[in-house]
Symmetry: C2
């Protein structure tokens, strides 16, 4: 296409009725745009970032194992082959449901025929948004780079610190939340201290660093079977992580946390204790839930709105038994693909969108070297077998052949040498 072509999204011209607009290039939005693109349906995908982020491996960026580009792929490149799909790299700020337009931060309006909200989730501090300053979550590349810089900088400061108490505090990391991200972070941080940093300092011994994992529930990994939770607990303890169950955080500040009535001085606190949906719900005007999710019907359409759908972490969707679907990449992907196919049929001949049905593809979380949990229906694995499955599944799910090769190469290298290759302190 020549540089002289007009930009159809930017000018509210003839095809106002023409395009399906997807907001968000995460697992859900991307799957939806792909399904539409494969079928040649005119589609526009809007995202504030120019890349799709593979959040399941973001904790490895935060712990100096991988680089941001290893877990992020340009959305344009992923959708390159689908000529009917356009990509807009801009932040959406609202929806005009009367005029059927998405509003962008840069002042432009994007008209839609049907709208798919796939704007994902952010960390939920349960009413204490000021805690975000002391305990960053892990949802964006900037989060991961900040956490990486904070973790590594604490060791650098400790190396220069004369007072033993201050040094000990700097070498303490508290992770709040014992879900998959919390367990993965705890394992990765303790391995970073025990192995990769072990011999690099002269005044401190990184192996003496404390990692404390705090979970409000009586067990870790509550989405998994009890025996997998028990395995994760034992394994983390044996790696040197202090796990505190049935323990809630009362206060969080610059010095650390008060949890279970006890003050823990910590150089770093990391928040993985829960997510809430992004503000897309406010764009539609207040059908909000406490977790920010948008209520959808079985066909993923937003209640009381016309031609608007929500998927992934944005949607409050229940399965056939009435249980809320979890905030997992596989739920978002399946919803995206389902909706993409259905909206193509709808756009062609008005076929109604059928009800979405989730198929559980299994669930897995890594703890550390040779240690993971893997669950598929009644089957479950732990240890080296689960760890291998975890690795294979994640390499397979990564977008792009180059990323697969690079990540596999780095994992092999780290496994053999106990090193971490991306130990950069840089905050941008």
């Amino acid at each position: 296409m020549s540089a002289g072509a007009t930009n159809e999204e930017a000018t509210p011209s003839g095809d106002r009725e023409g395009r399906i607009v997807v907001v968000g290039g995460g697992f859900g939005g991307l799957a939806c745009a792909r399904a539409l693109g494969k079928r040649g349906t005119p589609t526009t995908l809007i995202d504030q970032h120019n890349y799709h982020l593979f959040i399941p491996l973001l904790y490895q960026v935060a712990t100096a194992g991988l680089s941001p580009a290893d877990v992020a792929q340009p959305i344009r490149r992923i959708l390159r082959r689908y000529e009917s799909v356009r990509v807009i790299n801009a932040r959406a700020t609202g929806v005009d449901t009367e005029r059927r337009e998405v509003l962008l931060e840069n002042g432009r309006h994007v008209p839609y025929r049907a709208l798919v909200l796939a704007t994902g989730a952010q960390y939920n501090y349960f009413g204490h948004d000021d805690w975000a300053a002391y305990a960053p979550g892990l949802r964006t590349i900037n989060n991961a780079r900040t956490l990486r810089a904070n973790l590594l900088a604490a060791f650098e400061q400790a190396e220069m610190e004369d007072a033993a108490a201050a040094r000990e505090a700097l070498l303490t990391t508290v992770i709040v939340g014992g879900g998959p991200t919390g367990v993965e972070m705890a394992g990765a941080v303790v391995e970073l201290c025990r192995f990769a940093l072990a011999r690099d300092f002269r005044s401190i011994d990184p192996r003496s660093a404390q990692v404390i994992l705090i979970e409000a529930a009586p067990r870790l990994l509550t989405a998994f079977q009890q025996r997998l939770s028990d395995y994760a607990y034992r394994r983390l303890q044996s790696m040197g992580v202090t796990v505190r169950l049935s323990c809630t955080v009362q206060t969080l500040d610059r010095q650390g946390v008060i949890a279970g009535g006890e003050r823990i001085r910590a150089g770093n606190v990391i928040w993985t204790a829960g997510v809430k949906a992004s503000d897309a719900v406010s764009w539609l005007g207040g059908t909000s839930r406490p977790d920010g999710r948008i209520e959808v019907r079985a066909d993923l359409s937003v209640v009381e709105r016309e031609n608007i759908y929500a998927i992934g972490d944005t949607a409050d969707c229940v399965d056939a038994e009435g249980h809320a679907l979890p905030a997992l990449a596989q739920v978002a992907s399946q919803q995206g693909t389902h909706l993409g196919k259905a909206l193509d049929a709808w756009a062609r001949d008005g076929t109604a969108v059928p009800a979405f049905r989730f198929r559980n593809r299994g669930n897995t979380a890594i703890i550390g070297r040779n240690a993971a949990v893997f669950e598929f229906g009644r089957w479950c694995f732990t240890g080296r077998m689960a760890w291998l499955l975890w690795g294979i599944v994640h390499i397979y799910l990564l977008v792009g052949f180059e990323q697969r090769v690079l990540v596999a190469t780095q994992w092999l290298w780290h496994y053999l040498t106990y090193e971490r290759g991306a130990r950069l302190i840089e905050r941008g």
Copy 2:
């Protein structure tokens, strides 16, 4: 060493006379610390970053080919095996020559027995420091990430832009300076547009993007032989770069540049037109030159100062024929190794530091696919042969086996697919 050990640099205790202090972990400082470490001499290396940056490949980070961690290695890890070497990750702000201490930004003082200044260079805007805001240079990871984001964002904006003139300006990149960095950037930017981005947009054609290289001298690569300059000129022109020789920049602003009397509207201007030494000279109180370099004697000691040495881009050093040594990594490395060995002998028995003698190991610059120049003494190569040599030399010079494998893998992949793997817009 236990966590209870005292921190010798931080407290001005007994070994005030004991340690050799190196400021800067670039090619010079690192080579110096390594040579001292190999010989067991008590040494402290101070750097504001926790990593050594391989600047010769930084342009590939700026053009989305490599990730920052591919060209940066933690200084601690490089020096891990040398027990006598300590590393301080802090910014040096001055030198107290009376008390023989280096002053750090965090308020601490580091006493030295001998001091090696290896603080490198920064871009020189020749009196127009305000130009830095419109035309970033390329000396740090942040520079590279900013340039990468600016280059990619210009295409995203152009895709949304309706006005043809504005679109054309966004798709124009001006590179000021026809030295190795300018030539390498021009080649890499034009390949990014022609190949990696070519099919990713719908309203614009990235292949129509303009790349303009401006050089004040009558030829490119003035440090190389004339026939290599001519080759680089022809090659860049055939790749689609507009090269303007004997052309100087009069003004630089948000809209672009005025150069050779002509206004060029550009979405991005990149500055590679010259370097000046960092402010280390001001720490010693005004032995300054216009280029900021510190005048040193043949033994690399600073004129009129005791037990202070300067190496690399910081030093104004002349060879046997009285010519100033160029600002090259190999000069810095050789000076560092020379000084490290000599200061070890000096620390042991007071042996005087011998004069430094530079041995030219050859010089090379890459232009693009299958195109480079390589010069060694009277021999010189161009084309695919030089390109292969360039690749082999740079893989060999990279610090760390993991980096070598990852960079080689990415280069092979990019060569085969014409892709660039790190196309992230993120500004930190």
